[in-house]
């Protein structure tokens, strides 16, 4: 941590800061300039977290040096993590594709989706049983019934299954049926829920919040990991900006940024990022080229009659075609698919 004093801060003010730092058991290093004095603080920065040094007289601002997340931090864990889901390795050589409908609507719709995405080459089936919807009057999901269909689809196809959880009750139910628990964008800072999934031993897909910074996102992962569950997969799904030509703005740079900051695997969801199915193929290729470990893509057997997010869903034919187009990109990026 660096403490920057105000220009022309008085000597007693500087001495008080030095004294304050010493009392916390830390070592201050002073650099005195003609106008500004700065004080470097060396040692366990966590001692300073709640210290409010910026309120001491003469202090201008505080500049933190170390990131607040540890378990998710590549500095302390330089080897890339591989999250195993049944026989699938996420974060390894394979390009992992999670596909399926936004919402589980019926047994038939889900099984149809499962067979279709399996046939095209996806390894994991997505499908929402607990739907967080902006309006209370929109379709909210089949809940446990939906989970049961997910498990059935797994039996039939051998696909692993991922499902969003939105409450403790949903976590309790979902651990009995699914292979990956998903934390949705709106719950990325629902810290209670993060702790709950952190207490399970089920892999967690952590979507980025609509306006979460990279740092907040990694701290959300840290919440899960600090409870003991190290199997976290990050998922970039677009952030909120002023631009309205797409539903959200896909922050594709987040992939190389994350590859520098964390050992956790990262996938991308171009369906939610853009909200328009016509853009999904081009962006899927870009995500593989940029180094993502996988993709999450919405596929619905009949998008025109989907109960949720129809306009961003591919139909089975389009998804099949897309997977074909993605194969050479995966190969070029050194990924098995």
């Amino acid at each position: 941590m660096i403490i920057v004093m105000k220009p022309h801060a008085k000597e007693p003010q500087i001495q008080e800061v030095l004294h304050f730092v010493h009392n916390l058991g830390l070592e201050p290093h002073m650099s005195k300039g003609t106008t500004v004095t700065i004080i470097g603080v060396i040692g366990d920065e966590s001692k300073l977290v709640n210290s409010n040094i910026e309120l001491l007289q003469g202090v201008d601002k505080i500049v933190p040096i170390l990131e607040s997340y540890k378990l998710a931090n590549k500095q302390f864990n330089p080897t890339p993590s591989i999250v195993k889901v049944r026989d699938i390795e996420i974060g390894g050589d394979a390009l992992v594709i999670m596909a399926g409908p936004c919402a589980v609507e019926s047994r038939e719709q889900l099984l149809q989706s499962a067979h279709a995405v399996k046939a095209a080459g996806a390894q994991i089936l997505r499908g929402g049983a607990y739907k967080p919807r902006t309006s209370p009057y929109a379709f909210q999901g089949l809940e446990e019934e939906g989970l049961r269909y997910m498990a059935e689809a797994r039996e039939e196809t051998g696909l692993a299954v991922v499902c969003e959880v939105t409450s403790s009750r949903a976590v309790e139910a979902a651990v009995k049926y699914v292979d990956i628990l998903q934390i949705g964008a709106r719950n990325m800072q629902n810290f209670h829920l993060l702790r709950e999934v952190g207490k399970t031993n089920v892999p967690v897909l952590l979507k980025r919040g609509l306006c979460a910074t990279i740092e907040e996102w990694l701290n959300a992962a840290e919440y899960i990991m600090s409870e003991g569950n190290k199997n976290v997969i990050l998922c970039e799904r677009g952030i909120r900006t002023y631009e309205t030509a797409t539903r959200n703005t896909l922050d594709i740079s987040a992939v190389p940024v994350m590859k520098m900051k964390t050992h956790l695997p990262i996938i991308v969801d171009p369906s939610h990022a853009t909200g328009v199915r016509a853009f999904v193929p081009a962006l899927s290729k870009a995500c593989i080229a940029v180094g993502a470990d996988g993709l999450m893509i919405e596929v619905h057997p009949d998008p025109a009659h989907a109960l949720s997010d129809g306009p961003q869903s591919l139909d089975p034919e389009a998804f099949m075609e897309l997977c074909q187009e993605l194969r050479p990109y995966a190969k070029l990026a050194g990924r098995k698919f």
Copy 2:
């Protein structure tokens, strides 16, 4: 709802849309231009919510006309709502000030805070017992112990008390101790939690999410109200933008916008909006002038030793002085304080 056809959409495509709308039991009105045809749809718009009309051939886009929230909508409930908390009326003539520490840290700290804010003129004591913190290693709150201190502070001072809830368990505990349940910014779209507080009969203070639109915010209120709890108070607390000179950007225009769109009362939290106590007084005056029904201000007996958000907290003297300065502004705005 308005359906805009693509330029030069073909006649059979237009006919199919008309047919589709008819089949939903709605009445289409066509306006045919030289390049573009538009189709107005009259009737119960909710029938169209999951219809995916935009996926029909030849459709360019859909423009919704009616807002998706009803109970919170001023159009259907033109009289301003007054939320009663003990003998305090929020949304009426009074300027209501909620003040206190970010976090309840100890019995003594809370009681000191309570007496200080009472003396200055605040009517409601704020204090966090369940703290949502970005890092899992930061102070997380005293939980039920904190709630007990809140209740004790109420006994001692007669102040009403408001406390954030972050989980179903917290709601269960809080309803026994506090007068207002607060939904924090990070949980504004935690729909499960919204439903939980909606099932109680305790007034709810609903903070705006960091990147929530006005429309999403009102839909969040609708979640609470649709469960039966109509006592919702909105709280603007700054939104996330590119500007970093303040912690968030106070969207002061949200106050007149909300006064036009909803009958619910709205207060403003300038402490969280800016993150800097030096800016709180000027902004508090502005909020009264713009028409807010109240303010939420962080006050700590000893900001330099606060466990959370010290830099944005006023000390008791500064808060006392601020309240004095606010009185003529309240009077000018036609508010009792």
Copy 3:
């Protein structure tokens, strides 16, 4: 400037940085921690501006300490500046109101506007002769003819006049007719134009760019001032965010932030900030309460037939009423109006 080394940077890397800093004639101060070493650099920071120290091996990042603007900086010029425009003092005791139509449309429309805003109490007439419009097919302004009407309106009413300039040619013309040159939001970083108005001795109203930071805005002022023209007035006019309920988001906190960072006066334009005339009165009061030195408000004799920005313009009656409502707020804020 502070140089933060990467965790576990090697000794020779640290030595190279120290050496590099020495060679620039600056003095490094090293603080060595268990994981991270930081190096404070004292002296003339401008020597480091183009040094690219962050590219030396082992360097993690650079944290600048001093702001890059000097002439606009309150630290070096603590006394608030007063910009004199004829007999009006902007930044002093008076609340200064600039009002008038978005665009000068005709001699008659401008003179009508001038008389109306004069009667209500405004001291300065605004009116655009060079209009920057998003579409090339929208009305672009009367150019020099418009300037002549501005000068005529001044003769008739005694109001000072302000007009936007969008090119060197416009500056050349405008200096002959108007009292204040306005730099619009879209040109805030048109550095060539900033230098041009900096070479005149005419006061400059510098609007904030749509996505300019406080720091960039002050650097834009610095461009003008560094050419010799110290008469700069800042104008907050809303920033671009994700929220669409208002045309832009009025960043009202910019007023107290600027009062802390610069000695230059600052006014607010609530008409452009919101784009909706219904919100102008409430926000105008808020701006006075927050400490703004003045307001810029769009007034048109017949908003329904305005060629530009009609929906955000007040008509003369509404403006007259608003000025009456503002008087007690001005008085309360210690302003003459």
Copy 4:
């Protein structure tokens, strides 16, 4: 254009709107619902541009249907445009790479850069002679001297050259020396400058403004094209968002969006988008995969001593290596390189 009346608007209000539309020579189509009436307006929408219909009694809002840009609009010009620069075709089969230093610093530095980027395979040399810098105290460019070096580099290497222009004077000079005039992000809505380059017959590279919408960007292209110069190349270079891990946020979705909305070619500048050279290779691959017509990449013979943007510049070896890595991606995307 669609006119949406307020809920329960009165009959005479509706009649007045119909009358108003008729008087403009346009044809209104009314759709009357139980709560809301909407009026579709068919015909030449430009007649409505300055009509302020939203100010008529009972009108709630206006929904425009047609885009305001025509010449840049794919609807009216469905064939992709190819911009020819010497023997290079931008927007055709080739992947076009523009590379070189942020600023021209000296004859030697530029010639070195030119030979390096030529050797790696770039077709166009970039280099700034007029630098728009945030601070007036930063290096501002060599101006016409820099342009002469650009021309010399072209003679020596056969590369085409592109250079930013920031004023009419710069345009006048640049047309004598360079093959492409660049409009930088900060000048994207400097409409005077857009008209100036529109009057030349030199191809224009139009960078997206830091917070420009897709629509505003296309309208800026329209300014240039409406003056007669149809040779416009778009360049996505990152937008401003709340995220600070990268300098800007690369809006990669802008590429497929533009391919849908306009016939103009589009390239991407990953160097400015991220500000960090480590991220340039991964993003370059992604941009090719997503369908961009080319790339603009900063290359400097000695980034550590660059006078501008050193940290985002590749050195010649890294650029050579990158071009090698890009070849198979270009091939896969069906591009010659």
